[in-house]
Symmetry: C2
Subunit: 273 residues, 2 copies
């Protein structure tokens, strides 16, 4: 399969599809695990329905915030709640910029309007706030406040970077996305490499979504256990079942994985071998 034949929207959709299909993936929805209220079909429906927004991202034919809003809006017509908000935050600049270096330029050029549109998207999801002193997404005055402070979307991400690994990518030149894409290349082609790369990332970075939901101790415990799985000291499927039971879903790690699969696919990494 020649990735040159596919456009950016298609590569982004494939990246999202490959991430959710990869199995077993501790704690997250995968081809053999659902959560009662968020199921595989919700993820796949979001991937299908976000297409027009992803198409616009690939053509860079609107602003970052507007496209993130559109992607969230298009994919929120099912009952499964938020599925890809974090992924869109990473994919949209990567797609608009045609890769990591272009994305770094794109995020620096964002405007206050992008920030406003981002908050509108945020309001449509039920994602936890990015930090304690964050502008409150439920406060109707947030939009005015953003304009008063003159915060663009880069500033918003900078504000959240210390405790959100997705926001952090915007301000560090997509460093973890790059490292994870490199890891995929090292692991070789195909879906087993995605599972191995997921497990590697889980063992070396605390998931900030897990921290917000369950606290620092749980996030570190997940890292330790993921490392034990990698060292053959713990059973992967048992660990997966334990995470699912405790509703420990490393959603931000999944977002980074999607972004890294997208970057790798653009570079010619083969999913189909």
């Amino acid at each position: 399969m020649n990735p040159g034949e596919l456009n950016r929207a298609e590569l982004a959709q494939l990246a999202m599809m490959l991430e959710v299909s990869a199995y077993p993936k501790p704690g997250n929805v995968d081809r053999c695990h659902d959560y009662p209220d968020t199921r595989l079909e919700h993820f796949l429906a979001s991937i299908i329905l976000a297409r027009p927004a992803l198409q616009r991202a690939g053509e860079a034919s609107a602003g970052v915030g507007e496209i993130i809003y559109e992607a969230v809006d298009l994919s929120s017509v099912h009952s499964g709640g938020n599925t890809h908000f974090g992924a869109f935050i990473l994919l949209v600049p990567l797609m608009m910029g045609g890769g990591i270096s272009g994305a770094t330029r794109v995020v620096h050029e964002t405007t206050v309007d992008d920030a406003v549109d981002f908050y509108r998207a945020f309001g449509k999801t039920k994602v936890r706030v990015l930090s304690r002193d964050e502008l409150d997404v439920n406060d109707p005055e947030v939009y005015e406040e953003l304009r008063r402070r003159g915060m663009n979307l880069y500033d918003v991400m900078l504000h959240s970077a210390s405790n959100d690994m997705v926001a952090r990518e915007w301000v560090n030149g997509f460093a973890l996305t790059r490292r994870t894409a490199d890891r995929l290349w090292e692991e070789g082609c195909g879906r087993d490499s995605i599972v191995k790369t997921f497990l590697w990332l889980l063992s070396v970075e605390p998931d900030t979504f897990v921290i917000k939901k369950h606290g620092q101790d749980t996030a570190w415990e997940v890292m330790t256990k993921a490392m034990e799985v990698r060292e053959g000291l713990r059973d992967l499927e048992t660990f997966d079942a334990e995470c699912i039971r405790k509703r420990i879903n490393p959603g931000s790690i999944a977002d980074i994985i999607i972004a890294s699969i997208y970057v790798a696919l653009c570079e010619g990494w083969q999913w189909d071998c």
Copy 2:
């Protein structure tokens, strides 16, 4: 979820996604079963990549044969082989005609060019020939022969209807698609209804793809065993495993299921409950 918000291409993609995700589905690829050379990811990639052809079908902006060719072409860039040829044969007229009665008109209006394009699509797949006396898809003179005989695509399907349940739909007013969509409505909303409807169809109609691959006796045995599962006399997952082991994949039943989910979604049937 209001199906009125979604266009025909999106509803078709959802129908294909819901069919392949439904589990357990005796013998076919589903969310927990692959074949060694055709995997869940291949089906999902085809669904994503066929989008431009499905868009054209929804807008009726090209001929039936041309769109079927385009859909097969777009979705054959992976190594998984044919995934949705039969589904496209049903979906394209249903989408172009805006439902079953329109589709019945569309298929009657097909041309010799549609038949030629269909054979080109056929040549791209490795699907078994439709019947013994069929025009041979590997014969380079087939296109000239179609033109000499003046056969349109409806004529081709009429020729194959006696031993191909997908072709039969074209000549009987999509009767089994209608009956199966009605069954989905009777079963109620959601994915369990898809599994129940699949099992029902498997127990009342011999799969013509299974007949061609394994013979009449096997197809009847599958029907009998599916009925026993429905009556609680046989375990569904064991039956599924047996079919997978023997490579008995009722692919034409899956095509009818996709078409019936599409029809039901257009009528407002809820997948997400």
